[in-house]
Amino acid sequence: MAAGMEVPEARPDYDTIIIGCGMAGLAAGIRLAMFDQRVLILEKHNAPGGLNSFYFQEGRKFDVGLHAVTNYVEAGVRGTPLAKIFRQLRIPRDAFELSPQVGSRIAFPGVDLRFNNAFALLEEDVAQAFPGEIDGFRELRAAVQAFDPFDLEAPVIPAREVVRRHIGDRLLEDMILCPLMYYGSARENDIDFDQFVILWRALFEEGFGRPLEGVRVIIRALLDRYRELGGKRRMRCGVRRILAEKGVVHGVEVESGEILTAGRVLSTAGRPETEVLCGMKATDPDLRNQVGRLSFAETISVLDRSPAELGAGETIVFFNDSDRFHYEQAAGPVDLRSGVICMPNNYQYDQGAGLEEGLLRVTALASHEKWTAFADERYRAEKERWFPRILESALRFLPEVEPAAVARHTVYTDMFTPRTVEKFTSHLGGAVYGASEKSRNGKTRWENLYLAGTDQGFLGIIGAMLSGISIANGHLLKTKEERDVQVNEQ
């Protein structure tokens, strides 16, 4: 708007515009549409889902992001995040078609800790492998259970500090932290305690599940619900800038140049990314400091049989080959010391149901800087070079599997790098888990611009939905209510 122009108090085009059609944006959109707000979700890509999306390649469908849906609980278990989501979005539990995992493992040099969707197995393995630490481990569990991670105004405490109050053995400390960090820490070599609590419950107390058809089942359920409530969305409609002025936002300008006005904007694009949309330079040193340092590469091997037939029957294996676990920006293109193996075949699907082909995915820490510096041809060559190395590194932790057999039964491969992550998620630096400093209460420097999703700080697919719900409830619905009350009083 031109300076000095008198703008009449016109009704904006929308009550709320949401940037990003991922899990957080959709969940927030559903909440707002449920209570009659005029909502528009803008998504720059063609596929919804954000960090947890899917793609088609040569007739095959692949999930990105999603290894597992965390927070799995059986039907009828109440009060957990999964139950809250179904209730808040009023989506029937069956819509997510979740089947529970078979079982997972944390594999470090000389020690394995198994875990599944009942806590007892992990507790048993800790008692077996670390008999001197089991009391401390139980104390830590009690501390986790007593903590309220949803108090959005609580101060941030580093998790290692809390873990060390209860556990003396650094190996056990690292083993507990490894899966939690891999599934959600935006911080190098540590994790905020509130996120530790959320992820501990999500992985260890509750557990893994997955729909047979992958993440698109969940996206479909959310889209159907949003549409049914009258929510609007535009795909392939990126936001060029947020119209921010004097501490207030008025709407957005989309890539086509069209201006859309709104009473409020909810951005799921990430904290520094949202700053850029509000006019900060992407090269600004203050902004670069906010960009997360952690990114990942992933190899995908499609097999002509299930991994179990080759000796790998577990759902997820988190591995590390070194004395200490290094969760930090990779020094080279890929850090081969640790990683995550994910096998979507290994869930307890309904009788007779299963994936048509075998899938073996390996995720490892990778350097955004290195992968984006490669020119196109070199980039392709480096992918060819790193694929077998990542796979080989992972197969060290599946001792039953003969590497040659994997090669023999592989019918297709694909790989993504931090460069791919940045392209499809728009997260600066390919930072999957976003900025290391979160905006937990979702507030920004602009009074009617809010953040949800990764940089609000609830992570994982269930965390993302809870984030959208919490910010919608805490700010976007309340604000409207308060405004309505004010109007009624006039």
Binding site: M34, F35, R78, G79, R87, N473, L477, E481, V485
Partner: protein, 85 residues
């Protein structure tokens, strides 16, 4: 609207937002939270539905008045009457 009818309206809303709860033996004088698995998110939904379905506003400072069915009836019945009038 009578207080009994008002309680019925609240129960219908709870049934809608928490279909997995058993509402058959709810005691009117006991806090809803103590009988059902309801958290602050669910109470927000009760408030939102009262507004959406019945045009009744419950300001945030009055949320505690929705603690039990009896207190709901006490607090909401005059509001229902005011809206109807």
């Amino acid at each position: 609207m009578t207080k009994e009818e008002c309680k019925q309206v609240v129960l219908e809303i709870i049934a809608e937002i928490a279909p997995d709860e058993d509402l058959n033996d709810i005691k009117s004088d006991v806090r809803l939270r103590d009988q059902l698995d309801l958290d602050s998110m669910d109470f927000l939904d009760i408030v939102m539905e009262l507004r959406k379905q019945h045009g009744i506003e419950v300001p945030e400072e009055d949320y505690p008045k929705l603690a039990s069915l009896d207190s709901c009836a006490e607090y909401l019945t005059p509001k229902f009457k005011a809206v109807k009038a």
